[in-house]
Amino acid sequence: MENKTTRSLYMIPYVIWIAFFVIAPILLVLYYSFQDLNGDFSLTNYQNFFTPIYLEMTLSSFWYAFLITLVTLLFAYPTAYLLTKLKHKQLWLLLIIVPSWINLLLKAYAFLGIFGTYGMANKLLEAVGIGSRQLLFTDFSFVFVAVYIFIPFMILPIFNSLDKLNPTYLDAANDLGASRWTTFRRIVFPLTIDGVKAGCQITFIPALSLFMLTRLIAGSQVITLGTAIEQQFLVTQDWGMGSTIAVFLIIFMFIVMFATGTKRRRARG
């Protein structure tokens, strides 16, 4: 009995936190999303969302988030794999994580200098003989910087699951005559898929609503749902439409979570 009361006592901070900082804001967003410009209840915002402008924006958000996640994964998996093979792997891992302690805005400004016409990247290209070209405000630079920012978050879960992998499985595969590629495809990758999924979630979901990088690095030529929300709140002051976009963003995120989360639960259950 006493155990039960103490347990519910411990629940209090959690419940308060969830109620005030998760449930209440979502309800508020929902409430505002049903208000038109005059503050009356209406569904116009939802109708507006299904017009070409917002649908195109949604598609482009998904496309860039997908691209960013894919490139991040392509770099993160081999890196994580290499890390597990190193002698001082915790130290190397720390070195990869350290840049993520620096403020995102500072890093974005640094890239403004690096990718600029007279920046380091162009000097390097010239030295190599390729010649200077427009790097800043292109799709390339946007994806590059986003990947740079998300890569530690992708490496960590993959590293953890690779590190936990029982090496005897690899020996067994080797003994049974599996090639290295087969071992990777049939044993290593399926056993670390949870780490990959966690990494993809952590990358894809924030990438959907990136908004500061779209201005600083892509020169506002890439528009994500995050940018649209910012504009609706700060420029148009149409809180209803901004909230509606936010509602759809939340729905999309839940879909992504479920799509990448189901298998893990089944495996455990």
């Binding site: 020169g219 030529q221 940018t227």
Partner: protein, 355 residues
């Protein structure tokens, strides 16, 4: 359990110390009542020395806070957490604040220095008879360009920007009204035109400019234009004068088709606690010598005609930043278009960015 209790005691003690420190800090900054004045202004938009001398002369303690968009300012005034005595919104925002009933009327008898303001900046459409607002600074939207990088090319109209030779050279200010307004102006329509056909025409024309557009940015544009990353920018006049201060190859021009003329004005929000001090502050800022000093620091254009004699001649005679009445004739002030039409402009702007 014992440890938990100890932890709780430590946390409470720390909270107590912090609370005490805050109250001390507030007291030393004058938040604890007394004769204080809370001023809410744009970032880097006043000479700090002017604030000091105001405090010295009047004995009023000034608490100074800053904002970076009109909309953020309005939200904070609306929600009323801090009681601001003075705010400095732009003209279209004053119309909005008036609609929302968030301003106090200004008692002109307490502001004798109002006579120093040039008549052409008084009694404007956004605030007839200056019932709620007193002009602070004014400026324009125009083109800043790097004549050296463009081999002496002359630019004097919006339509010059459509020159194919300017591929990837233009940086825009990331602001819907400025850019859509420029599209409308380039077609010789009014900035405040909301005819859907005209807006569509302006949008189509802007899309054809897209190959020349390098980026749409906020305050970063100043740095990139000064460093020569791009050779043309569509910017506010004050930003232009700041950029030109850093790089002498740049020049500022008011396009001949017309452009935007804007005013930032001092108002007294409804939340004000020290209305007398607010009037005193406005009157002080309108003093010719104070206004001259402030203008030299801020580098925007002052509406105070008596202040001009105390300022360097080359600043006052610069027609780019002090255009003559004939020049400002073809400039337009933004009207408050209401949320629907502003929303339409914003949607077109988003679409333009995605192209």
């Amino acid at each position: 359990m014992k440890q938990l209790v100890r932890l709780a005691v430590v946390i409470l003690a720390v909270c107590g110390i912090l609370l005490f420190t805050i109250s001390r800090l507030n007291a030393s900054q004058g938040y604890s009542g007394g004769n204080t004045l809370t001023v809410y202004n744009w970032g880097d938009y006043i000479d700090p020395e002017v604030l000091d001398s105001f405090e010295e002369e009047t004995g009023i303690t000034v608490i100074y806070e800053t904002f970076d968009t009109n909309e953020a300012m309005m939200t904070k005034i609306q929600q009323g957490g801090t009681s601001y005595d003075i705010a400095v919104p732009s003209e279209y925002m004053i119309e909005k604040l008036k609609e929302e009933d968030l301003l106090l009327p200004i008692d002109h008898s307490k502001i004798p220095n109002l006579k120093n303001i040039d008549d052409r900046f008084l009694d404007l459409s956004f605030d007839p008879n200056n019932k709620y607002s007193i002009p602070y600074f004014w400026g324009t939207v125009g083109i800043v360009y790097n004549s050296k990088k463009l081999d002496g090319m002359k630019i004097d109209s919006w339509n010059d920007l459509w020159n194919p030779a300017l591929k990837n050279e233009i940086i825009f200010t990331d602001s819907p009204r400025e850019i859509i307004g420029m599209g409308l102006n380039s077609l010789n329509y009014s900035l405040n035109d909301t005819d859907p056909d005209h807006l569509q025409e302006a949008y189509d024309k802007l899309v054809s400019l897209k190959p020349n557009v390098k980026a749409l940015l906020g305050d970063e544009n100043k740095m990139l234009l000064a460093s020569g990353e791009a050779s043309i920018g569509v910017v506010w006049s004050g930003d232009a004068s700041e950029i030109m201060g850093e790089n002498a190859n740049l020049d500022y021009v008011l396009p001949k088709e017309g452009s935007n003329l804007w005013f930032d004005n001092m108002v007294i929000p409804k939340t004000a606690k020290n209305v007398d001090a607010a009037h005193e502050f406005i009157n002080y800022m309108l003093d010719p010598k104070v206004a001259a000093k402030n203008t030299e620091y801020v580098s925007y254009s002052t509406p105070n005609k008596e202040a001009l004699q105390y300022m360097p001649a080359e600043m006052v005679n610069d027609k780019r930043f002090y255009p003559s009445p004939e020049q400002t004739e073809r400039l337009e002030v933004y009207e408050n278009l209401g949320p629907e039409k502003l929303g339409r402009m914003n949607e077109l702007f988003l679409k333009f960015k995605m192209e």
